[in-house]
């Protein structure tokens, strides 16, 4: 695949993530913060998000598996995940967290278990897609090309 084709693939791939609602405009804000002086800013922040989220999801699994669920522990974790996902533009993860929090408020353990599964699903989805996106970018850079700006007409 030549450079132009790779760049087009990347643009199409990125657009699809927005069209599917996996990413929202906050991700574009993130890209605006990247420049020659900070060329890896987006992947750095996203990597932090992955590390943080892996930890939170693990803690949530443990907390919900307790005999007596302590919602005072569960809710702050979900709140944090909601915040982080919102900050990087992971829209579906954020939305799943909003639902999760409402069930925490109701102290509905069964619903919370389902919510956790939903959050995990959305999280693994966005993680997978973003990792692919970064690989595509790396291929372009390795071939001596520039990452094209995404035109979305928001």
């Amino acid at each position: 695949m030549d450079l132009v084709q790779m760049q087009k693939s990347l643009q199409d791939y990125t657009k699809s993530l927005f069209l599917e609602g996996i990413l929202d405009s906050q991700f574009l804000q993130l890209q605006q913060l990247q420049d020659e002086s900070n060329p890896d800013f987006v992947s750095q922040v996203v990597t932090l998000f992955f590390q943080d989220s892996d930890r939170i999801l693990n803690d949530l699994s443990l907390s919900l598996d307790q005999q007596v669920v302590d919602f005072k522990k569960v809710d702050p974790h979900v709140h944090q995940l909601k915040g982080s996902s919102s900050s990087i533009g992971a829209q579906r993860v954020k939305n799943a967290c909003v639902v999760f929090r409402s069930f925490c408020e109701q102290q509905n353990v069964e619903a919370c278990h389902r919510c956790l599964q939903q959050v995990k699903q959305e999280y693994y989805l966005v993680k997978n897609r973003l990792e692919t996106l970064f690989k595509l970018e790396q291929q372009i850079v390795a071939s001596g090309g520039m990452i094209p700006a995404v035109e979305l007409g928001f």
Partner: protein, 151 residues
Amino acid sequence: MNNGCGSGSESCLSSMEEELHVLAVDDNLIDRKLLERILKISSCKVTTAENGLRALEYLGLGDPQQTNVMKVNLIITDYCMPGMTGFELLKKVKESSNLKEVPVVILSSENIPTRINKCLASGAQMFMQKPLKLSDVEKLKCECHLLNCRS
């Protein structure tokens, strides 16, 4: 520093050229990193703090032994933090004779009217929704420079 904008333009312009020093407070690591980057791109000097207590230390309101107290022109703080909330931090700043003139901006992911009102009533300069955008920071900078001019 500047001594008012009586004749206006010159002292205001020089205040525009001075770097704003912002203290950014947020318990979320990702949000801290974003805030820091947004502010640096907007030509601000940034110090970050992960909670209200650390913020108070930087401001000189913590341990009396504290030596590296810094002058800040703006405090941006998350509302929801474990331990000391952004609202509690705001009150401590406004209660301090040294710091009460420093504008405090509260950030929150939730636009709850009672929350907004109580922050503004307690002296918050602005209440803004997270996540913060680059354009939001431009607005903040203008406000701060105007405040510096007036004082």
